[in-house]
Symmetry: C2
Subunit: 204 residues, 2 copies
């Protein structure tokens, strides 16, 4: 199977890029569907799963053990159960068909499949502009608040990703292609990225 | 004019990529030609120019001034004269036609032209392999020596680049596309990069 993983900075248009890339190549597309599948397996609440996976929250459950603080052994936390389910769901997806997977540390968890790893980023001005344009009615963040929001989400994404990967979220070394979408209309660049991916897969 | 600048890790195939990309797009290609042009203007030795530009050597001329060590003011060093010539030659090139320029801090020096900035890199194993395959007869570096050689050249390139640029050599933030060529045959990916560049220029 040919697997493309997309990691992305919040506001960089990475999700749109992933979705359009899947359409361009005729690949399956997975994003929130991963959370749904884990929810179905685990019977846990989707909101809880999303938050835990997105923020790597299981790192942060200190417990008292023999009168000292220790981190709860992963095996006993709901987080760890989530790790297993996350891994199981991603492996099932990987076996099914060619696909594009956005986020959820798929690049690291599916490393054995040698996925084409894409990182999408942009400068802050461009991300704020993209977020403000897409804000739903009633969402009225100032640019300053938006910047804080973007940074917070990216910090969570990095933290969760780096639990799984031997390279840092967003470090070019870990990725096959890093795409700067500053002031770029995503749909204009997708066909070339599709061709690049096809050429890249042809080498392996 | 549409300008593509290529910065690259030694052994990543960046020069080949630049050359093939220029052919693919019908753009002019500049690499060592820049050194030749500076030599012609300055009447300085090509080897000296190449070494000074590649290694940013002008940073390293300490002089005694008022009994304390100081760095020679740039204006008075041959290095600074070189900076002016380097800038002059690059601007002349930029005004001439669409082009691909490899190295020589063209990404930073020609920033006002809004070039499409590419960074080419690869993992160390892949770079060593590429270098060993291309080594000329008589060049017999062990892999360990080759790694040292690669690191030394990249350090020089970074040092020279960062004299001119407000972002670090190889930091994804400074570039529009970062391409990982590990185990990839350069010629297979060039047409898609050409299409990407055309699409990217269409946004500005």
């Amino acid at each position: 199977m040919r697997i493309i993983t997309i990691n992305r900075e919040f506001g960089s248009g990475g999700r749109e890029l992933g979705k359009r890339l899947a359409e361009n190549l005729g690949f399956a597309y997975y994003d929130k569907e991963i959370i749904d599948a884990i929810a179905e397996k685990s019977k846990l609440d989707e909101g809880f799963i999303d938050k835990t996976i997105e923020e790597g929250a299981w790192k942060n459950y200190p417990i008292t053990f023999n009168h000292t603080f220790a981190y709860m052994p992963l095996i006993e936390t709901p987080g760890n159960t989530l790790i297993s389910w996350q891994s199981e769901v991603l492996h099932e997806i990987a076996e099914k068909s060619d696909c594009v997977i956005v986020g959820r540390a798929a690049d690291a968890i599916l490393d054995e499949y040698h996925p084409f790893k894409v990182f999408v980023f942009a400068d802050m001005d461009s991300k704020v502009k993209r977020c403000q344009e897409r804000a739903e009615e009633g969402e009225n963040l100032t640019d300053k608040e938006m910047i804080r929001h973007i940074k917070k989400i990216d910090k969570s994404r990095a933290s969760n990703h780096d639990l799984f990967a031997p390279y840092k979220w967003g470090s070019r070394e870990g990725f096959d292609l890093c795409i700067n979408t500053s002031n770029v209309e995503i749909k204009t660049i997708v066909p070339a990225i599709g061709d690049y991916a096809k050429a890249w897969f042809g080498n392996f």
